[in-house]
């Protein structure tokens, strides 16, 4: 084999190693980011389909005499979900700085707020189902499937936070080993952000006449 001329070795020379470099992310975090990316794309496709059907439909939206979505419950649900992200941020910060008890107190707050969100969603469904169902027309199909899948993701997120809470109570996390709290936190914030997109698209947008 001909000896190849080697470029100056920026990475492996001793000189390079004396400079401090930022430490990268753990594998689990990258895995969670990628999982969130694919799920976010799924919601983007659902919302894109919503807008596609809306604009190819023309005419009134919501169609078929369905009333514009009321905004009070969604506003409260938004507040609940946004607030619920706070305790997760505190929980993650706490475990990294060696305060596992604070972590174990914060996560149940998230769970309670999340549960309240789901209860309100169910109450909203019971009201709306009197007026239209997923089988009424494409608007109904889109509305219930989009909000329904989001609710399912909230539920899954709550299960994840609860399991993490149990692990925290059993003393599984310390300042040296706490990756899972952040991973669950990333998922929870994702669920939050998707809700904002849904509120804007399904609830606020029909009110914008133009």
């Amino acid at each position: 084999m001909s000896a190849l001329r080697e470029a100056p070795d920026a990475v492996t020379d001793a000189q390079a190693l004396t400079v401090e470099a930022p430490v990268g992310r753990p594998t689990g975090q990258w895995g969670m980011f990628l999982f969130v990316a694919t799920e976010a794309t799924f919601f983007a496709c659902l919302l894109a389909s919503y807008f596609y059907v809306r604009f190819s439909h023309g005419g009134d939206w919501p169609p078929d005499g369905i009333s514009d979505p009321k905004l009070l419950k969604p506003a409260i649900m938004t507040a609940l979900l946004l607030l619920s992200s706070g305790p997760m941020i505190v929980a993650d910060h706490a475990i990294r700085h060696g305060r596992p008890r604070l972590t174990a107190v914060m996560m149940p707050i998230t769970v309670l707020l999340g549960l309240a969100f789901l209860v309100l969603q169910l109450s909203e469904y019971s009201e709306k189902l009197k007026e239209f169902t997923p089988q009424t027309d494409s608007y109904g199909s889109l509305f219930y499937v989009i909000t329904g899948f989001h609710g399912l993701h909230v539920f899954i997120g709550l299960v994840m936070v609860t399991v993490t809470e149990v692990a925290a109570l059993l003393g599984k996390f310390t300042a040296g080993r706490h990756e899972r709290v952040r991973m669950v936190s990333i998922y929870w914030h994702f669920v939050d952000v998707v809700w904002i997109a849904i509120v804007a698209s399904l609830y606020l947008a029909p009110h914008l006449r133009g």
Binding site: M1, V23, A37, T38, P63, S138, V163, A167
Partner: protein, 650 residues
């Protein structure tokens, strides 16, 4: 190894003994079900994918026989619909991508200089889900319920009104099921390539094959959701009476096409990019020089991946969309061919500037160059709206995509099999056998698919179970069918060469071809731990540079390179490959298998309409995942040690 090993030989022996003890391989049924070793899983993917290739190929022989003459009645139209739908669906979803994922699974840790994938249990899970989904999809044929609406499943034909039987339920749920495996595999490839590279392997020193599959994996992350959305909506329309695609109730049938092709076009590059990566591994080795314009090849791979998301409407030029839309997508579809052209020029330049050794892998790679260019040329023709609107839905399309898929994916896969066969199996293949296999296959392939261009230009539509005489199509149909039999012979000979090698092939050395990348440093086949010493990489061609090769022996005394304290790999930084910490990896476990089995039960229950059973299966899956992810070890028993004492992990 190298001459320097003689002074390090005792240390190497000691290191090897310590490391092998931490990387046992269990045999028997228990080992088969519980293994998380990337090499075993990779081989499994390849064997299973090859099996689907054979099934789907036999399927195609029936199709070709039916189409040999006008007005044949070998199969009924209903059976034909199932066979041609299964042929396309199986080839694309259950053969092409899984085969390439199999290559990736086997080769990534070896090429990157590590011992396993980032998520070994997820890897095993992905395989079990793949094989289950394949059984569901192909097994449905036995019940006469195989998908029958074409691989692309257009509504309203596949909706509840016109496809009342369960065939398209199998399609939509089957693909949703498979998508879990594909996404899991993609995430695994990306994270492995980001975090587990050998020290010194900066991004600019990552092999082109790895880049190809990583770009592919990012594409999977973003391209599968539109397909999943479409399939969920289709299933809901069919099973639960929703109206996503029903124009009578405000839905839109074209929405299916947009969602499907938003996935479908990137999917063809998902198939082709790893195959191009295989070619980029073979051509430099057999030209005895590094690949020309490495940076451009990498950028071209990335550019192809990104631009491929912006061309999907070229599958819909005849649907009646606005002129402006057609103009944009026509321009984008022309542009997407440019990066692929750059890669082609890189290979040609590498060969022109090197000394070509026309061994068997290179022969197959040359076949790829010819066939893929031909397919690419007809592809560019389709980018022109006026031409497309004349030839869409004709046999010209069938000719085009078989040239790019068979030529652009199957030929590189076979080339890759011949190239890495010594590494996968520890045996060499017969040069004469491989050469015969190539010429028979290549001739059969061209004889099968070239006449289809002519049939298409003469107006023969695609997706038909028979056709009338008197149009001049029949003679080309006959030639094509005879070609398909020759192709079948060629593929059987190819299989025969591999089987013969397994039984009587000469034992292979570590590095039979004089390759440039790290997999050639491992044994043939590799030991379970791949490398006794994690190497330090100083260039893009670690096997061709002395410093990298010397690091294998020099690292024998370094605990942070031997990593024998447990079942460990080395985690390095994303951009520069700077060592970060030791990472304890999961060992063999039945949980992925059990979780995949629960998922299969759930999928079958959904298909049968037993929703409570499906809910119970979902709970079982959740328990499985919880078990898998539960932090079993107490934190006091430090699982992973930082190396080189970096700053506190924030």
């Amino acid at each position: 190894m190298t001459a320097t090993t003689s002074t390090h030989a005792p240390a190497l022996e000691r290191a090897k003994a310590r490391v092998s003890g931490k990387w046992p391989e269990r045999s028997g049924l228990r080992g088969f079900v519980t293994t998380v070793d990337h090499k075993r899983i990779g081989r499994r993917y390849m064997v299973t994918a090859a099996l689907f290739f054979v099934l789907s190929g036999l399927d195609a022989l029936v199709l070709r026989t039916q189409l040999a003459r006008p007005e044949e009645s070998l199969v009924s139209s209903q059976l034909y619909d199932q066979l041609f739908t299964l042929h396309g669906t199986t080839m694309i979803f259950f053969f092409a991508t899984p085969m390439l994922f199999g290559f990736g699974n086997f080769l990534f840790p070896l090429m990157l200089g590590t011992r396993d994938m980032a998520f070994p249990r997820l890897n095993a899970f992905g395989y079990w889900v793949f094989v289950s989904a394949g059984i569901v999809m192909f097994g449905s044929l036995v019940f006469g319920l195989a998908p029958n609406g074409g691989w692309f499943g257009y509504v309203p034909l596949t909706g509840p009104t016109y496809s009342p039987k369960a065939n398209m339920d199998v399609y939509s749920i089957g693909l949703l099921f498979l998508g879990i495996s594909t996404t899991a595999g993609a995430i695994n490839f990306i994270v492995t390539a980001l975090k587990l590279r050998a020290p010194g392997m900066s991004l600019a020193r990552v092999p082109v094959f790895v880049w190809g599959l990583v770009v592919t994996s990012f594409m999977v992350v973003f391209a599968l959701p539109p397909l999943n959305t479409a399939n969920l909506m289709l299933f809901a329309d069919r099973r639960f009476g929703t109206h996503f695609f029903d124009p009578g109730h405000g839905g839109d049938a074209v929405l299916w096409q947009h969602l499907f092709w938003l996935f479908g076009h990137p999917d063809v590059y998902i198939i082709v990019l790893p195959a191009l990566g295989i070619v980029s591994s073979i051509v430099p080795t057999f030209s005895r020089r590094p690949i020309a314009a490495y940076s451009l090849v990498v950028l071209a791979t990335i550019a192809t991946g990104i631009i491929s998301f912006g061309v999907w409407v070229h599958h819909m030029f005849a649907v009646g969309l606005p002129q402006l839309s057609l103009t944009f997508f026509s321009a984008a579809s022309i542009v997407v061919t440019l990066p692929a052209g750059i890669q082609m020029f890189s290979w040609v330049t590498t060969m022109l500037q090197g000394r070509v050794v026309l061994d068997v892998p290179m022969l197959w790679a040359m076949g790829f160059v010819v066939a893929f260019v031909m397919g690419g040329v007809t592809g560019v023709m389709f980018a022109l709206v006026a031409f497309d609107q004349q030839t869409t839905d004709s046999y010209f399309v069938v000719a085009h995509f078989h040239y790019v898929l068979f030529g652009g994916a199957v030929l590189p896969m076979i080339a890759g099999l011949f190239h890495w066969w010594p590494k996968f199996t520890g045996r060499l293949t017969s040069r004469r056998g491989g050469t015969w296999a190539f010429w028979l296959t290549f001739s059969g392939f061209n004889l099968t698919f070239f006449p289809m261009h002519i049939q298409g230009l003469l107006g023969m539509p695609r997706r038909v179970y028979t056709y009338p005489g008197g149009n001049g199509w029949g003679i080309w149909g006959l030639v094509s069918t005879l070609g398909s039999y020759l192709l079948a012979v060629g593929l059987v000979v190819t299989l025969g060469v591999f089987v013969h090698s397994l039984r009587r092939g000469a034992p292979a050395p570590d590095d039979p071809w004089g390759g440039e990348t790290l997999e050639w440093a491992a044994a043939s086949p590799p030991e379970t731990q791949n490398f006794t010493v994690i190497p330090t990489v100083h260039s893009l061609h670690p096997m061709w540079d002395e410093r990298s090769r010397a690091s294998f022996a020099e690292g024998a005394e370094d605990d942070d390179r031997v990593l024998a304290a447990g079942h460990e790999v080395l985690q390095t930084s994303e951009l520069d490959g700077r060592p970060e910490r030791r990472l304890a990896m999961p060992e063999d476990t039945p949980v992925p298998f059990v979780t995949a089995a629960a998922l299969l039960v759930g999928v079958l229950a959904v298909l049968l309409g037993w929703y409570w059973v499906a809910a119970a299966a979902a709970v079982a899956c959740a328990i499985g995942i919880g078990w898998w992810l539960w932090p079993w070890q107490p934190p006091a028993k430090a699982l992973s040690e930082p190396v080189a004492h970096p700053e506190e992990v924030s």
